[in-house]
Structures are given as structure tokens and as C-alpha cells.
Amino acid sequence: MKKSSFHILRVGLAITFLWIGILIFKNPEAWGGYLEPWAVGLLPIPLSEAMIGTAIIDIIIGALLLTDTLIWLAALAGLCLR
């Protein structure tokens, strides 16, 4: 039961990361609105490019979680990203 719940949680989290990655790709500027203005000022690259980078990392984390590969790395990256 514990193992089943882990896998259900893993797949659910993977889908969340993948879907958010796709939505950021669709409209990166809108998702950039969630960043604080002072944090945007610190970015060395345009906001949309930074958000596309976030989307790529989101999709990589989602793919790792979905395929049950390097779970600890995906979890750590997800934690840092959030």
C-alpha cells in the first residue's frame, strides 16, 4: 500500500510539472507575472527567456518523475525550483 501510494503521488506530481511546463511554453510572459519585480530586475536575460528555461527544467523534472528515473534528483530540482 505504501509503495502504491508513492507511485500514485509520483505520477501525479510528474503530470503537474509537465503540464505547468507546457503552459509556461504557451505563454511565458504571463507566467513571468508571478515573479516579484525586484527579482525580475536581477535577471541577466529577458523575462520570457528565463521563463522558457523554467519550462524546460519543469518538463525535465516531470519526465524524470514519470519514468521513475533519478527520483531524488528530480525531487531536489523541483524543491529548488519552487
Binding site: 503530470i15 509537465l18 507546457i22 514519470l66 521513475d68
Partner: protein, 136 residues
């Protein structure tokens, strides 16, 4: 958008399931059979390959392709009409192949495999969502 979210979720579930089956087959381990005890009988039967490619690999490729196309349609990568056509066609073909495999389990192998049925229901649900969303 809601339809694509559901379709993407289902294809991701299918991807996860087929990755599990491929891993178990490569490791020569028996997959967990949540309902019934005939998973191994079906998965090791002579019908476990289609054109020399194992069915789990075919399923994985199908789900990955469908996930990518759903993503392309949501993001808006051109040509949208082409992606929509390929998406509908591939899910329809997948639903028919799943119907054939379910018939094989029912009438030929005479055993039911939980993972195969789950995959079949996933694809049929995807086909159902496509049909319903085309009428709305």
C-alpha cells in the same frame, strides 16, 4: 484546453505504466498483478509482439508521441491542423489495436492482464474524450 489537459494526463499515465512494464520485462521480473493472477500469462504469450516489436515498447512510443502532439497543440506549434489530424488518427488506431488485444485476451489467450486492460481503457477514454469534444 480542458480536453487537451485530460488527454495529456491520460497519455502521461499510459507512459508511466508502459515504462514500468518495459523495465520489468528487461529485468525479467514479474509485474505486480493488482487484479487477477494472469498478467504473466498474457505478457509472455505469443501475442506479446506486433511486427517483432514488444507491445509495451509500441505502447510507450504511442503514449510519448501522443503526449508530444498534445503539447504541440496546446503551445500552438504550427501546422495545427496537421497535428490535430495526426493526434486523432493515432488515438483512433490505438483504440482499434487495443480492441484487438482485448479480444485476444478474452477469446484466444483466455486470461486477463490488469496492465493491458488499464492501457486499453486509457486509450478508449482518450478516444471518448476526442469524440465528445468534437461534438461540443
Amino acid at each position: 484546453m480542458t480536453a487537451f489537459a485530460l488527454l495529456f494526463t491520460l497519455s502521461a499515465i499510459g507512459t508511466s505504466e508502459t515504462v514500468y512494464l518495459v523495465r520489468k520485462r528487461i529485468a525479467s521480473e514479474q509485474p505486480v498483478c493488482l487484479i487477477g493472477e494472469d498478467c504473466t500469462l498474457v505478457l509472455t504469450s505469443r501475442y506479446n509482439k506486433l511486427f517483432i516489436i514488444p507491445n509495451d515498447v509500441l505502447g510507450l512510443l504511442f503514449y510519448i508521441a501522443v503526449s508530444f502532439i498534445a503539447g504541440f497543440l496546446v503551445i500552438g506549434i504550427e501546422p495545427l491542423a496537421f497535428w490535430a489530424f495526426v493526434f486523432k488518427l493515432s488515438v483512433a488506431i490505438g483504440a482499434l489495436i487495443s480492441l484487438f488485444f482485448t479480444y485476444l485476451q478474452w477469446r484466444v489467450i483466455r486470461a486477463w492482464c490488469f496492465w493491458c486492460l488499464m492501457s486499453a481503457f486509457t486509450i478508449w477514454l482518450m478516444e471518448g474524450i476526442i469524440l465528445i469534444s468534437s461534438f461540443i
